[in-house]
């Protein structure tokens, strides 16, 4: 870093560092939800392809059948591996004044939303998350939909209590 950064008059060096806090990883059960959703999408697409092959007789005219099948299944295999890494990379932390959410496989990304800029909060529960007792919290700011992050895979009770706590901290 250049000497400019030792200029304490403009940038203070001793402020709380968002990187230094310990973040909570998503609940393990959330990965089951991811797997089940992936499996459903996989089944629907595979069924559609099978129907296409059956009705339109693709198999006769198609070359490299085995290679295509291997490519198709390895794509899904890779996708499952990717979703595992993506799941491991997701973590969150509620500090006194803001919420931190980390994610990203190729781009390691951190979203920071100060509580006093939150407009409102939504608690979502999908069909499968409900079975596992999980919920996701979504934060809305006036900054546009790009930063309206939704943090998945939180135990319902914890999500509910965070929603209460943060609702009280929203700037009145």
């Amino acid at each position: 870093m250049g000497t400019a950064f030792e200029n304490n008059k403009i940038l203070a060096q001793d402020l709380p560092n968002y990187e230094a806090v310990a973040t909570t990883v998503l609940d393990k059960k959330h990965y089951w939800v991811v797997l089940i959703s992936t499996f459903i999408v996989f089944s629907i697409i595979s069924l559609g392809l099978m129907l296409c092959f059956y009705f339109f007789n693709f198999s006769k005219s198609m070359p490299y059948k085995q290679a295509a099948a291997i490519a198709y299944f390895s794509f899904w295999g890779l996708y499952v591996v990717y979703s595992w890494i993506a799941f491991k990379r997701k973590s969150y932390c509620y500090r006194t004044h803001d919420v931190i959410y980390n994610f990203g496989v190729f781009h390691k990304t951190t979203v920071l939303i100060p509580f006093n800029r939150i407009q409102h909060i939504a608690l979502h529960q999908g069909l499968f998350s409900r079975k596992f007792g999980l919920a996701s919290l979504q934060f809305y700011t006036a900054g546009g939909s790009t930063t309206d992050i939704s943090i998945p895979g939180m135990p319902l009770e914890i999500a509910k209590s965070f929603k209460e706590i943060i609702s009280d901290k929203i700037e009145k």
């Binding site: 803001d98 979203v111 920071l112 800029r117 939504a122 979502h124 529960q125 069909l127 930063t147």
Partner: protein, 496 residues
């Protein structure tokens, strides 16, 4: 407020029962286009299948409408002063909006509503362009109660708005015809050029569609013409003259008699030759202050200003009125405006420059790659064998290389105690000012391949647009973010 209303809305309310019918009609209307697909079997001769599909589709829509109605519940939590919605069948959503954040409650009635004497309630919060809560159908009495509550909430948010100290600068200025002519001649080259080219192609296409011989005559002329250097020069000069003239005329018509007058806390701006437009600039609502200047404007000592305000107007459509434009103002006028809005100077700044990789990547993707493509075309396709093509590729490479270099050289991030300022552009250089406490949220990210070189990107969101900087020193960006967050979280000032 009437205690009866409080009592009524303290428990969860459903929409009016006939509301499910309204929901049904609305989703019918939304899906009306999809009914065309159901006609396919009928066209093929299978009318029966069409009718079956049709009935099935209608039953499905009715079922979904009923489920949507059945699982939508709302209430007012007067203790915690928040509006609460529970909705969804498979995915359940549990929404709460603090009263203070509700900007507007709209009570609408369209044709279907009128038939059943129902009303639609829409609630908006600041910033986002979509409606946060949309209660499709409530009875008349409930709509009246909403009106009462809306009044109450309005009072609440009015008392919450906190008045900023008046800045003392006398802010009034005009922009005369001479400056407008200067602006017209120096700005918006690329936009106008692309508009003209696009319009030309559209026109030719239209002529072609109507099979007018005129169009094919034109293409014939274009094909047969002898492309001497004289002709090309004439064409280029013609295009330049058209662009300049179009810009000149549109700028003068749009901004004729540009006047800014101070009225109490706000600045009233009026302009326009044919249609007079008037905008209100209120310092508290300003989110971004952008200045744009190109090389010609720099020589003439003028710049363009664009000010983005957060709109508290109906946000269902993008409110263009909330943005203020100042064409061709002088540096002194800019200073007056800046002082009026912020009441303070930018102050001492730290300057940050992007890494050289930004230039290398831009050069590779926007200059080298397309040039290679053009060269391959030249080598492989007979039609492009002419020597002029080689000249074209070379000039393209040089121009894009220069643009990528200018883009890299002009990119910079400035941090001061109160402001964050980003500069970018290769011809029109734009500087965006954002006051720290107006920031809503931030995203910082690092591609894994930049880990060792310690580079990363930062995105900063305000209610009037975002600032994005890429390929900067990651450690510095993190330090800036920590400082900005601290300033936002300790600030007691309202961002709008």
């Amino acid at each position: 407020m009437d205690p009866l209303i409080i009592q009524k809305f303290a428990v969860f309310q459903k929409q009016s029962a006939i509301g499910s019918v309204v929901l049904f009609f609305q989703s019918l209307r939304k899906n009306s286009f999809n009914f065309i697909y159901l006609l396919f079997p009928a066209i093929k001769g299978n009318v029966k299948i069409s009718i079956f599909l049709f009935l099935g589709f209608i039953i499905l829509i009715a079922l979904f409408a009923y489920i949507k109605y059945y699982y939508f519940k709302y209430r007012f939590d007067f203790e915690k002063s928040a509006f609460i919605v529970h909705k969804g069948f498979l995915e359940k959503t549990n929404l709460s909006i603090p009263f203070e954040k509700i900007q507007q409650i709209n009570i609408n009635q369209n044709l279907i509503h009128k038939l059943f004497n129902l009303y639609e309630i829409q609630m908006d919060t600041a910033g986002s362009s979509s409606t946060e809560v949309d209660i499709k159908a409530v009875s008349k009495s409930a709509a009246n109660d909403f009106k009462v509550i809306a009044e109450e909430i309005k009072k609440l948010s009015l008392s919450a708005t906190h008045s900023e100290p008046l800045s003392k600068t006398e802010a009034s200025f005009e922009i005369n015809l001479k400056t407008l002519i200067k602006t017209g001649l120096t700005t918006r080259y690329f936009e106008t050029l692309s508009l003209i080219v696009g319009g030309l192609f559209l026109g030719l296409q239209l002529l072609d569609d109507y099979e007018l011989s005129f169009a094919s005559d034109l293409t014939d002329i274009a094909k047969k013409a002898d492309y001497s250097y004289g002709l090309i020069t004439c064409l280029v000069l013609g295009v330049i003259a058209t662009v300049l003239l179009t810009n000149l005329i549109t700028t003068v018509i749009k901004f004729y008699k540009y006047k800014a007058r101070r009225s109490s806390k706000n600045l009233e701006i009026k302009y326009g030759l044919i249609k007079t437009k008037s905008v209100l600039l209120s310092p508290q609502k300003v989110q971004q202050f952008k200045t744009t200047q190109n090389w010609f404007q720099k020589l003439l000592n003028i710049l363009d200003i664009k000010i983005n305000q957060a709109s508290s107007e109906v946000s269902s459509t993008i409110d263009v009125r909330s943005n203020v434009k100042v064409p061709g103002c002088t540096l002194a006028q800019k200073q007056v405006l800046f002082d009026f809005i912020y009441g303070k100077a930018v102050g001492e700044e730290i300057i940050l420059k992007p890494n050289l990789r930004k230039f290398i990547i831009n050069f590779m993707f926007f200059s080298l790659l397309p040039s290679t493509g053009l060269l391959l075309v030249h080598l492989n396709i007979d039609f492009f064998k002419g020597h002029y093509w080689r000249l074209l590729v070379l000039s393209f490479l040089i121009v894009t290389l220069y643009a990528a270099w200018r883009f890299y050289k002009n990119s910079a991030l400035f941090i001061s105690k109160n402001f964050i300022r980003s500069q970018s552009g290769f011809w029109d250089v734009t500087t965006t000012h954002v006051e720290h406490y107006k920031i809503q949220s931030a995203i910082i990210s690092q591609p894994i391949w930049y880990k060792n070189s310690d580079l990363g990107d930062l995105l900063i969101f305000t209610a009037g647009g975002q600032i994005r900087v890429r390929t900067y020193n990651y450690t510095a960006l993190k330090l800036i973010l920590n400082n900005v967050l601290y300033n936002v979280e300790t600030s007691k000032r309202k961002w709008m």
